[in-house]
Symmetry: C2
Amino acid sequence: MSGRAVTITEVARHAGVAVSTVSYVLSGKRAISADTRRRVLDSVRTLGYHPNAGARALASRRANVIALVLPLRAGMHVPVLMQFATSVVTAARQYDHDVLLLTADEGPDGIRRAAASALVDGLVLMDVELHDTRVPLLRDLAEPSVLIGFPADTSGLTCVDLDFARAGALCVEHLAQHGHREVALLGAPAVVYERGTGFARRTWEGFTEAAAAHGLTGVALPCEETFEQVAAVVGELLDTRPDLTALVVHNEAAVNHVLGALRQHGRRVPQDIAVVAICPDDIAERSSPALTSVLIPAEEVGRQAVRLLMDKLEGRTVPEGTLLQPRLTVRDSTAASGR
Amino acid sequence: MSGRAVTITEVARHAGVAVSTVSYVLSGKRAISADTRRRVLDSVRTLGYHPNAGARALASRRANVIALVLPLRAGMHVPVLMQFATSVVTAARQYDHDVLLLTADEGPDGIRRAAASALVDGLVLMDVELHDTRVPLLRDLAEPSVLIGFPADTSGLTCVDLDFARAGALCVEHLAQHGHREVALLGAPAVVYERGTGFARRTWEGFTEAAAAHGLTGVALPCEETFEQVAAVVGELLDTRPDLTALVVHNEAAVNHVLGALRQHGRRVPQDIAVVAICPDDIAERSSPALTSVLIPAEEVGRQAVRLLMDKLEGRTVPEGTLLQPRLTVRDSTAASGR
DNA sequence: CCCCGTTGTCGAAGCGCTTCGACGCTCTCA
DNA sequence: TGAGAGCGTCGAAGCGCTTCGACAACGGGG
C-alpha cells in the first residue's frame, strides 16, 4: 500500500478517456460504449482505484453512510441489540452504504451533529421508548430516519418492529390449545415498564387480552434478573397459584434462572409446568429442555429498517408502521403437555 | 431544520470576515484577535453552522472517523463485545472522531475499501485470533490500526488486551491462599481453542503454570454452553476428583449453568466448593452467590485502543503490545472458604 | 528614524469527485 | 439527400472546506 491514493484523474489518463467518462462508467448514469467501459474498468483494476469517499460525498451531496443510533440502557438484552446492529450493517452494505455508530451518551446532539454535517444521509434508531426524547428532533430533521420500536405517537415517523402484542397472544393461544387454564407472564424488570418501553408493555397487553379472550386466568408480573429474585417470584407463583400450569417468559436474561428455579422447586418441564419463551432461537435451543418460543426476528427487523430508510432516501413514501408477524416454534418445553 | 445547510461562506459573510478567518477560528491553527473570534463564534451559533464533513475530509485529508471492525463468531460473549464497542465510540468522541462499524462478513475487502476510500483514518479490530487473516492486510495498509487481542506474531502491529495469563494465575493464587489444593478450570467451548483464540489459550496456560508453581493439582477443561453439557462436565469432575475444592470458570455463558449444576449436585458454594469467574462484573454480581471474579476491563481496553490509535494518527510511536493488569474482586463465592 | 519581526486577516489555489451542457458522430426516415 | 434524433464523450464548473503565501498595521531596538 503506502503513498498517495489513486485518483480518478490517474484512472482517466491510464484509460485514455476524460475524468467524467470514468465517473459515468462507475455510476452508470450515462450510456457508455462497451469498449470504453472495459478499458476503464481494466484501469480501475490494475491501478487499484477506490473513489475518495469525502470527494464523492461533497460533489454528490450523498455520503452513502447511515447512522445507527444505539441506546444502552438497563434491562435491554444485549445480544439481541447486537443482532439488530449486525443485520443493519449487512443490509446497508447491500445498498452500498456504510454504518456510523452513534451511542446514546452523546444524546440528541450527536444525532443533530451527524445529520447537519452531512456525515450521514439517514438514521436508524434502536430501542425507541414510548416517549422518546429523540423523536421530536427526528421530526424536524431534514434527513430521513427509521425507528426500531414504536413510540406512543408515530405520526410523521417510520417505525418497524415485531408485533409484540401478537407475540404475547400467540403464546397464550398455544397454551390454550394444549388445555392450560391458568397461565402467568414473567416479563422484563420493573424498570423497563416504568420507563415506558413499548415492546414490553405491548407483550403484556397482548398476553392479558388473549388470556381474557380465551377464558384463561392470566397473571402478568415484572421479573428481575438475578437468580435469587427470579427464584422468589417463581416460588411465590407456585405457592399461591396451585392451578398454574404454564409460564410465558419474556426476559432473555431470566429464562435460564426460571428453569433453574423450577428445577429447584422440583417441577419438571413440561410434565408439571409448560414454559414458552419470547427470545432469540439460540437461547431457546440452548436451554434444557429446549424451549417452545416466539423468536425476536432481529435480522429481519434490521433488514426492513434499512430497506425502508433506502426507500425514503430515494424519495419513495413508506408506511408509518411496519409490524412483523411473530411465529411460534414448538420445542420440548410444551410439547409433551397433554393435560 | 430543512433547506440547504449553512456553509462557511455564509458564516463569513454574516460575521464580516473572510472564509479563511472562520476556518482559523474554528481550528485554532492561527492566532485570531479576541474580537474577531467572538464575532465569528456568534455567527456560527446564530446561523447554526456545522462544517460539512465531506468537504472537510477532502480538504484536510482527514475524515475524523475510525473504523471498528467487529467479528461475530461462535463462542464469543456478545455483551463483552458490546462493552468494547461502546467504549470505543465514547473514547473516539473524546478525540472528536466518529466510528464506522465494519463487520467481518465483508471480510478483508471491507477493511481495504474503507481504508482506501479514505472513509476512515484508522482502524480498531476486535477479537483477533492467533493466526488472523486480517493481520497481513493491516501490515501493508497505509492507515494505522490497533488490535484488541494478540495474534501470534505482533511485529509491526499495535495490540492491547487484558493480561489473560496473569488473570488465570491470579485466580489460582487466590485459591492457593485460601488453602485449596486441587482446582479445575472450566474454559471456553472447545471450538474456541481449536480456532486459536489467544485470550482463551493464554488463560489456560496462566492457570496451568500457576497451579504447578504453587504446587496445586490443576486440571483444565473446555466447556460447552448448554446446561446439559455443563452439568455433565461438572458431574464428571465431582465424581472423578473427590479432592477438588475449587473451580475457575472462564466462560460467561456457562457461569450460571455451573452454579445450577453445583446446586443440582447438592454442593454449596463456597462451603463445599469455591468458584472464581473471569467475567464482567455485572454477571459476577448477578449470580448467586455473587462470584469472586477477575473482570474483563472492556471499557479500559477500548479506551486504550483508541488512545493508541490517536497517538499513531499523530505520528507518535507506540508500543507493540499493551497488557492491562487484571484485578481480582473477592465476593461471596470464595470468601467463607476457610479450609 | 528606519528596519524588521509580529500579529491578524485576506485571497486564491486546490482536495477528488459529480454533473451539466455541448458537440461530433452515426442512423433513420421523409 | 438532408434534417433530426440519439448515442458516446468531453470540458468545465462547482461542492464546502483547509491551507499557503501575501500583506497591512503596529512596535521595539539599534
